[in-house]
Symmetry: C2
Subunit: 426 residues, 2 copies
Amino acid sequence: MRIAVLGGDGYCGWATSLYLSNKGHSVAIIDNFSRRQWDHEVGAETLTPIRPLSDRLRTWHQLTGKRIELFIGDVMDYDFLSSTLKEFEPDAVVHFAEQRAAPYSMIDRKHAVFTQVNNVVGTLNVLFALREFAPDCHLIKLGTMGEYGTPNIDIEEGYITIAHNGRKDVLPYPKQPGSFYHLSKVHDSHNIMFTCKIWGLRATDLNQGVVYGTMTDEVGLDEALINRFDYDEVFGTVLNRFCVQAAIGIPLTVYGKGGQTRGFLDIRDTVRCIEIACLNPAGKGEFRVFNQFTEQFSVLELASMVQMAGKKLGLQVELNHIPDPRVEAEEHYYNAKHSKLIELGLVPHLLSDSLLDSLMNIALKYRDRVDLSMMMPKVNWRQARNERNVQPGRIDLEPVTPRAAKRNGSRRSVTTAKPEVEYSKG
Amino acid sequence: MRIAVLGGDGYCGWATSLYLSNKGHSVAIIDNFSRRQWDHEVGAETLTPIRPLSDRLRTWHQLTGKRIELFIGDVMDYDFLSSTLKEFEPDAVVHFAEQRAAPYSMIDRKHAVFTQVNNVVGTLNVLFALREFAPDCHLIKLGTMGEYGTPNIDIEEGYITIAHNGRKDVLPYPKQPGSFYHLSKVHDSHNIMFTCKIWGLRATDLNQGVVYGTMTDEVGLDEALINRFDYDEVFGTVLNRFCVQAAIGIPLTVYGKGGQTRGFLDIRDTVRCIEIACLNPAGKGEFRVFNQFTEQFSVLELASMVQMAGKKLGLQVELNHIPDPRVEAEEHYYNAKHSKLIELGLVPHLLSDSLLDSLMNIALKYRDRVDLSMMMPKVNWRQARNERNVQPGRIDLEPVTPRAAKRNGSRRSVTTAKPEVEYSKG
C-alpha cells in the first residue's frame, strides 16, 4: 500500500514509518519538525540522542535498501498538503501531525489557542484535501483515550447504545477531556465524523492510550535509527519519567494519590495497530473508532512495577507524592473496552515483559543525559498563565553505572528540586 | 446588573441589549461589525433597513435617556477583549459574538476554517479573560439546538443519565452537529465545560433554537431601532425566507421532504431567556445547559402555517420542494426537552400569534427590498467548494401591495431561478 505518515518524524510516527516500510509498503513522511522545535521551546531534550531525519532516512536506506519519501512542510499549509497528497497518491493517510502534550496546551492562553488551532485546522485541511483529491483514501487518525475522561460507566469504542424513555439509539460516546490538548482531539473527532457523513470519507479514529517503549525491530537495527524517549514534565509520560527517576536514584514523583488509571500500550503494538487499520480500511462514509491500548494501570501500579524492576537492577526506588498539577480524579472507576483491534489480529506485548529491556535499561544507558530540572511539574492546570520562559541551566550528573548506583546505596545525593510553582487553588 | 453583550450589533444581540437596557441594567455592547461585513461578502442585505450602530445608540438614548456603552473591537483580539472586560467590570457576559450561519461555514475550506477558528478562539479568549480578570462573572454563551442533531431518543438539556452494564453516570449529552458552524458550537461547549471544572468559572450554555420575529417592545419604539430580518440563503432562516417568498408571490422553497424538525422561539423570548439567565446565575464551577426554544415544528408545518397566514392577507402561497442542499435526515424523530427556562419564569410567545404581525407584515412592508437572487441555495453540503464569488445583480420588483398581489392572481410572474448548482452526490 501507499501510506503517507503525517508527523513521521515524531515518536509514534517514526516507529510507524519504519515498520510499514519494512513490511513492504511505500511510505512517505510528511513533517515540518515542529516536535523538535517544541523541545527547543520548553528547553527539553529526548533522553535518547535522536538523529536528524535526513540521517535517519539515509541509514534506513543503507541498512534495508528501502526508501522512505520525505515531504517537508506543515499540514496547516493547505497548498502544501493538498499538492503533496496529489503527488503521492496514498491509499492511507496516518495522521500523527498534531501537538500532543497536555501540559504544553495548559501553559497559557497562547499555547491553548495554538494547540487547538494547529490540531483542528490541520485535521480540517487533511479532510478537505482528501475530499478534493483522494476521496477514497483511508484516513487513520490518532485520537486519545483521554477524550473519554473517567466516566463512572464502562468506556466503549467510540459509540454507546443508549436506551432512554422507551426509545434507543447508538450515539457517539460522551466526551469529558481533561486538557486543551485532549479537547482538540475531541473537536477533531466530531469534525471527522461529520465529513464521513457528508462526503463519504472513510476514517478510523484510534483512541490511543499512553505509549511506552523505544524499541521496535526496525528502530533497534542501528543507533542512528533510535527513537525519542521523552521524560520531561511537558512532553514526557509518567512511565518514562519514573524509569528515569529510578535510573538516577531520585524518588518517583507521583501526582496526588496516584489512583489515576489510564490505558497503556507498547510502541510495538502501536505500529502493529496502524498496520491493522491500514489493511482493514473503514467503509465508505464510515467513521470507525478503535480504543488502542492493551492494559490499564493506575499511576501507583506503574510506580510499584518500576520499583520491582529497579530492584532487579540493584536500584532502590522510593516514591514521593506531590500535589497533582492537573485537575483530575485521583481515584475513580475505569474500565475501557479495547477488543476491536484484538479481533483484527493484534497480539499485545505486556508491560511486565518490556519494562526492563525497553524502558529501564534505556533509562540507565542514557542516564548521563538526564536533565534534573525537567522533572518537576511547572504547568499547573489551575492557573491561566504558567511561566516557563526562564529555563534553568542543565544540572549535570556524573556518569554512573547501575552497579555503581548499587554501590552508592539507596539513592544518589542529588538535590531534587521542589515544585517551582505553588499550586494555589482558584 | 452590569452586562456586557458580545456581538450586540447582531440580530439577537441588538434586541437583547435594548431589552436589558430598558430593564435598568448597565449594558455595554462589544462588537466589530463582522455581521455587517459578512452581508457585504455574500452580497446580501437584511430585508429591514437597519441603521448604523452609532445611530441606533443615539436614538435609544434620545428616546429613553438610557445609554448603552460601546466598545468596538474583535473578541479574537485578546488585549482588546481583556482590557474591555477589566474596564467595564461586568457581572455577566452574554456571548453572541460568533459566525452563526451553517451555510456560510459550508461554502469552502476557508469559510469552514474561519468559522471554527473565529468561534473557538473567540470563546477561548472570553474564558481566559474571565479567569484572569473577572473570575466570578457569569458567562452566558449562545449555543444551538443544532449541537444535538436529530438522535432517535429524547434530547435532554445538556446532560443525560446513562445506565450501562450495571453502572450509572450523568454525562454530557452526545452531540451530532450538522455543519462546520454547528461543530464550532460543540467545540465551544466542551471548552467551556472544561474551564468551569478547572477554574471554577460559572457558565450557562443556551442551546437556542431558530429565532424568528423582528419586533420587541424596544425595537418597535422607532424605525431607527429596527432589527435585522435575514432571508438570504446564507444567513436567512427558513421561516423568514418563507414569509418573504409568500409576500412576493413565489413558491416557498422546501428543502427535500420538509420533515426536518427543529425548535423555534420568538425573539421576545430570546431576550427574556437571556435576562432570566442573568438573574439566576450558574454556581461557581457550574456548567449549566438550557435548551432555549418554545415550540418545535417541521419545515412542512412552517410552510403550512405561512400558507394559512398568507391566505388571511389575500396571498395565495404555493410550495416547491427542491433538492436538500444539506446532508440531514428529511424525516426523523424529534423530541427535545425545554423546561428549565420555563421553570425559571419564561412565558412563551407562540408562533401562531406572531406570524402575522412580526413576520408576514414585516415581509410585506419591505417587499420592495427583496433580492430574488438571494433565495435559492447555492451552498451544497456535499461539495468541498461552492462558488459564491460572482454575485448576480439585484432583480428589482415593482412595489406591490397585498391587495395588488391578490389582484394579480396566485403569484407574481417573476422568473424564479432554479438552483444554480447541481447537487451531485459524492
